[in-house]
């Protein structure tokens, strides 16, 4: 009885869609074609959930790399607590178990009028719907002197892969007593707690192998999330090793000098043994080129369907979007991707759309057996993604709970990467 209204509603949406999708019907194709650009956390999740939805969809995933290296848990690798290979995930299951066509190429351009994507190898893909999940790019000239060559000397390691290996090598060959410097970019950037987690885990490595080393964090901000939890842990685990300087003390980092491995602030020059410089960020280059970004450098989207506010028919998820209260995390990218996949599938089939559940949890390590977590849920309110519930570990949480969280984090990594890559 009650479902009748829904059915009617569904049919109406379906009827509306027939017009929208008539070009593909005219070409005699039975299934809608969805192209997903970017096989990172957001893109791989959209592809998988679309391919396994009740709606018949042909899914093509475009990703240049054969294997994805997770940024999450890469700080454990930097501290020597996890092998590099354990961060790698291939696309075989997505192709074989879910029937996704995986093309290992870069997308060069999008033509929204023709509904096509041009690949670097010269070929073209047509789509009925497009999802773009290109992650982040670094802003040009955000820091004077920090160019491609400087990145090879003062790595950012903010995209996991060769940069992470470079930073690990530098940390390993650093002499005891050396200074490890971390430059934290201005908001918004990928994974807000990650610079402080990195400091914590590298400190645990130094404590065992280079106990006289020091860590200096030069921040673009004057405070950071869960600061009390981090600073309490630094005092307990690594007394005197980590120093954090807010922007109000330094005037902010303005330039780097790779020749001397120095970082220059308004008031002083800091010479490092190893410098980890994380530059300011914006949406991935393709989003910029395709006109999907606004003046902020990020992509405005509808918070229910994740459709671009600038280019209809193109959806975006992950770090590239203006997420409102949602931070740029893998968990958020995965959560948005599911909502987006269900919205696209419902729209293509003209079927019911259920309220989405958007969520974020980040497990953050303070030491190998001391981790904390947060749990936040979000809802679209007035066109924006708003935080509705927010729980975070407290400073006074017992060691047993923290130890349990460090174990739960391992379980999360296993389940989460299985959820994304099959």
């Amino acid at each position: 009885m009650k479902s009748w209204t829904r059915r009617e509603f569904g049919c109406l949406t379906g009827a509306g869609l027939l017009t929208a999708l008539s070009p593909r019907k005219a070409r005699g194709q039975a299934k809608a074609r969805v192209v997903v650009i970017g096989g990172g956390i957001g893109g791989a999740t959209v592809a998988k959930y679309l391919a396994s939805s009740a709606t018949a969809v042909d899914v093509t995933l475009v990703e240049p790399r054969q294997s994805y290296t997770t940024c999450f848990f890469s700080n454990l690798y930097l501290a020597g607590l996890r092998p590099f290979e354990s961060l790698g995930h291939g696309y075989e299951a997505l192709a074989r178990q879910y029937g996704i066509t995986v093309i290992h190429e870069s997308a060069a351009a999008i033509d929204p009028a023709a509904n096509t994507v041009a690949l670097n190898n010269g070929s073209k893909l047509s789509y009925d719907r497009l999802v773009v999940a290109p992650g982040i790019a670094f802003r040009d000239r955000a820091l004077e002197g920090y160019d491609d060559a400087a990145m090879e000397i003062m790595p950012h390691a903010w995209n996991a892969g060769p940069q992470s290996k470079l930073l690990r090598r530098q940390l390993e060959s650093m002499e005891d007593g050396g200074l490890f410097l971390i430059v934290v970019p201005p908001d918004p950037f990928r994974c807000p707690p990650a610079p402080y987690e990195r400091a914590s885990l590298v400190a645990s490595y130094f404590q065992n192998s280079k106990p006289k080393a020091k860590i200096l964090i030069l921040d673009a901000k004057d405070k950071f999330n869960a600061q009390d939890v981090f600073q309490d842990a630094w005092n307990r685990h690594y007394p005197g090793m980590i120093e954090w300087l807010p922007a109000q003390f330094t005037g902010g980092v303005t330039a780097v000098d790779p020749k001397t491995r120095s970082v220059i602030t308004a008031g002083a020059t800091f010479k490092a043994a190893v410098a980890n410089v994380v530059p300011a960020q914006m949406a991935g280059r393709l989003a910029q080129q395709a006109g999907l970004t606004d003046q902020s450098g990020w992509c405005p989207v509808d918070p229910v369907t994740f459709e671009s506010a600038l280019q209809p028919g193109i959806h975006l998820v992950g770090d590239a979007i203006i997420g409102g209260d949602m931070p740029k995390s893998a968990f958020c990218a995965n959560s948005q991707a599911k909502a987006c996949a269900f919205a696209i599938a419902a729209d293509l089939a003209g079927s019911e759309r259920f309220p989405a559940h958007l969520f974020n949890t980040c497990y953050t390590y303070l030491a190998p057996d001391d981790a904390f977590s947060n749990a936040i849920s979000f809802q679209p309110v007035d066109g924006k993604l708003k935080r509705v519930l927010n729980f975070v570990s407290k400073v006074e949480e017992g060691a047993d709970i923290r130890r349990k969280a460090a174990r739960a984090a391992e379980g999360w990594y296993d389940a989460f990467t299985q959820d994304v890559f099959g």
């Binding site: 479902s3 569904g10 599911k338 269900f342 969520f359 849920s377 174990r407 999360w412």
Partner: protein
Amino acid sequence: MRPAIAAGLVLLVSQSGAAAEPDQGAQLAATCASCHRLDGGGTGIPSIIGLGEERLKSALLAYRASERPNHIMHAIALSLSDEEIASVARYVAAQGK
């Protein structure tokens, strides 16, 4: 009027002949899959496969009421309506069979 969101509500939409059956339980279980492996494996986070519908439901209600302390599951359960809890419990329980 109660919104019609019972799991198993089948919306047959004969568009290009494809029958779409969106299942709310399946979509909610996708949220759980970010942390719980739905193939029954996993360590560090308890498996929710094989628990049975009633145990799933009562665990979620206990987390929601903070009778079982855990801030992650408290937040998850608080974000679910009674109907959603019933729907996800039914779906997850059926995965174990």
